[in-house]
Amino acid sequence: MIKSNYNTRKRKFIDFTVKILSSLAAFIGIFFLLWILFTVFQRGFHALNTDFFTKLPTPPGLGGGGVINAITGTTIITLMATVIGVPIGVMTGVYLSEYGNKSKFGSIVRFTINLTIGVPSIVVGLFVYALIVIPTGSFSAWAGAIAQAIIMLPVVARTSEDMLNLVPNELREAALAIGMPKWLTILKIVFKSSKSGIITGVLLAVARVSGETAPLLFTVMNSQFWMKSLNEPIANLTVTIYNYAMSPFDDWRQIAWGASFLITMVVLLLNIIARIIVRETK
């Protein structure tokens, strides 16, 4: 009886300690996140004015000026990367889930994808630099889009595969059983069931690459001007942040904070949209 009392107290104590420690860890995690968000908001918010969204950059010290070219540039690069990376990524997911599920090639592909997800983005940037920038002799929007697409591809492929795997096999069988060909079953039944999950994965991948700087440093570089073609360096937000934040000029650093705030908001928005889609389908 006495022993059992002792055990109960000990058990309650351990329970309490673990609860406190894990709550503390959770608090530390969220504390730094909120701090980042708060700082970016505080420093960046008042940098956002009409000029910021409508004017081209000005030389340091002159004041005013904006990053409309970089906003346009980042949008274009991200869209190009999405157009290149998402279809290949989704189709890879389809292959892994629907065709090469247990095949040898399938497991090689899956392994490679998991490996690629872990490759630092600066390595992808260097790779594209060697592959495209050096042979063509120029930084370009294309090179940046390809670098970002390479980063997106494995993320989209893996989430697509995971989402497609969630579709019960009974549903595939039911479709095949009324004489539906396999490709149509995938297109009309399997995709439709996993649509929201795949869209969510794509949104998160877009959110992730839109904030990447490293793959753009060696591929698109940056520019102070309007872009004339996709074959030249073009302005973009993340490299602008990198350049401006490092500069000794107050007005440039101010714009860097503004651009940071803008990107953070876009990423946040994409995440919120993804969450809403997930909730709607539940």
Binding site: E173, A174, A177, G179, M180, K188, S193
Partner: protein, 253 residues
């Protein structure tokens, strides 16, 4: 058996990878009758059924050997169009599996897949199929609602409607009532009684009362072999094999 068999199975063996699941199955399925397949869990009932429409081929490690003749034509012949085979041999699964689309589209999809018809004719056939599945009165005002919105029993009848809409000749039912409630089960069983006027039905069931209620013939499976196959009344009143008697009297399984 009086008429030509609808399906004749000869020397059917089945493998999951290295593991053999069916051993030398031989059976003749009578047209427009209900044949029940009974036996303990894991005895190969479902496996056997899933050969008839070659649905097992979705999985690469599954393999069938032997002959399955549908109206005297080998279903494994290279001349068989698999999509046409599956139109002829419909299947109802254990869990109701409505497609992620409206009630109407669930039924119309298969019709459009196999026949080029105008809208009016498709709507007519959808109605006919839903009536055939005894579901029309319950859904006629909500045809645009998703199939998933129906109750489990209604979903299963929707699956029946979807299957009969493409005008099959055979309906395979793989434990069609094991995931739905008793009231819905009675409806499905009544439906089977009506459907057999038009279709040849093979039903796998765990429920021996169900087998004796709905079927004309019963096959008893044990460890991948067909132990006994006869008229249902004979199987349940005077089985020839000791194993069958032990099973139907509940001594194992």
């Amino acid at each position: 058996m009086d008429a030509e068999p609808k399906i004749s199975v000869r020397g059917l063996n089945f493998f999951y990878g290295q593991h053999q699941a069916l051993y030398d199955n031989n059976i003749d399925i009578a047209p427009r009758k209900v044949t029940a397949v009974i036996g303990p869990s894991g005895c190969g009932k479902s496996t056997h059924l899933r050969v008839y429409n070659r649905i097992f081929e979705l999985y690469k490690d599954q393999r069938a050997e032997g002959k399955v003749l549908l109206d005297n034509g080998d279903i494994f012949s290279s001349e068989i169009n698999i999509l046409e085979l599956r139109r002829k041999v419909g299947m109802i699964f254990q869990k109701p599996t409505p497609f992620p689309m409206s009630i109407f589209e669930n039924v119309a999809y298969g019709i459009r897949l196999h026949y080029s018809l105008d809208k009016k004719e498709i709507a007519r056939r959808v109605e006919e199929a839903l009536k055939g599945a005894a579901l029309w009165d319950e859904v006629k005002d909500i045809l645009n609602k998703p199939g998933m919105a129906l109750s489990g029993g209604q979903q299963q009848r929707l699956c029946v409607a979807r299957a009969i809409a493409v005008e099959p000749e055979i309906l395979l039912m793989d434990e069609p009532t094991s995931a739905i409630d008793p009231v819905a089960t009675v409806k499905i069983e009544e439906l089977i009684g009506t459907l057999k006027k038009k279709f040849t039905i093979v039903i796998v069931t765990h429920n021996m009362q169900q087998a004796s209620r709905v079927s004309d013939y019963t096959a008893f499976f044990y460890k991948g072999k067909i132990v006994e196959f006869d008229k249902t009344r004979k199987i349940f009143t005077n089985p020839a094999q000791k194993k069958t008697e032990e099973y139907i009297t509940g001594r194992f399984g």
